[in-house]
Symmetry: C2
Subunit: 145 residues, 2 copies
DNA sequence: ACGCGTAACGAGAATCGTTTTCATTCTCGG
DNA sequence: CCGAGAATGAAAACGATTCTCGTTACGCGT
């Protein structure tokens, strides 16, 4: 999705929730858009020095509530954030157990659709209403190998 | 796996790492074995009042290091633990976004093997060595619906 | 059996990522 | 242009987890 479209879409999501698309929020979205994968608060603050920690935390929470951003928990001590999937592409994560770095990857369409139906069936069998799934690979990245 | 076998296997894992299978550790394993899914430290402490918080944290860390226990991060504020897969069965998780409860589910073998090969391929394409994967469904459980 | 050295324990203190507070600064409708 | 409600930022509070340290229990050699 083009940058302008992302901004427009995020603005719409915020407006729908009676929230403003302030400068700080736009800056956070910009940082997320230009980093090729989920990043930590620390990385966001480093990428744009004009941001203050508490506002970034608060705004990420709001952006997540309106569906513009997704929170990623990897197992190391830092929560990571990325733009929501409908603003990017459907993808999954390769998580380096060594350095904690997270990078995106995709599966081909046939695998994905097969997964979807398997999930749907499994959820149904457990009286569960599934709204999302998480699919991550753990291992060692090229750098750490 | 039968309870006696689990204890034996855990004992072996600990011995291999020059660790002792103490009463406290066995009690933690027992609690994990009798709860049908990943549980929090709080739940473990509630399930066996003889356990002390600091020791449970420490022992879970050790049990994870020797490969007897797996740490599960769901997104709420609590880390959960379960017995490692080779002590149970290969399975995935249904995570209730509402109450945080986690329950196990399985996919059929053909789906699993297809997933495995897709993962292998995706990891390879990214210069990544995959050692494990995580596959969770988020949604609403029967109780919360 | 008896000690000894070391591992494990338990209660509380410390840590640190995250959340909250609160006074100040923006922003938008009227 | 004003005023009310949002959003901000710095600093304090919070809380799950980890660490500290004195005590207890285990395994092993004698």
């Amino acid at each position: 999705m083009a940058e302008a479209d992302v901004n427009e879409e995020v603005a719409a999501l915020l407006r729908r929730a009676d929230q403003r698309y302030t400068t700080g929020r736009r800056r956070v979205v910009d940082v997320l858009e230009h980093s090729g994968g989920p990043i930590t608060i620390t990385q966001i603050l480093a990428a744009d020095e004009s941001l203050s920690q508490s506002s970034v935390y608060r705004n990420l929470t709001i952006l997540e509530e309106v569906g513009a951003v997704t929170r990623i928990v990897t197992g190391d001590d830092f929560t990571r954030y990325e733009l929501a999937e409908h603003l990017t592409e459907h993808h999954h994560h390769l998580i380096c157990s060594d350095c904690g770095e997270v990078t995106d990857f995709s599966l081909d369409d046939s695998t994905e659709s097969m997964l979807d139906s398997a999930f749907h069936q499994a959820a149904k069998a457990n009286g569960f209403t599934a709204t999302a799934h998480r699919l991550d690979l753990f291992g060692t990245c090229g750098n750490c190998a």
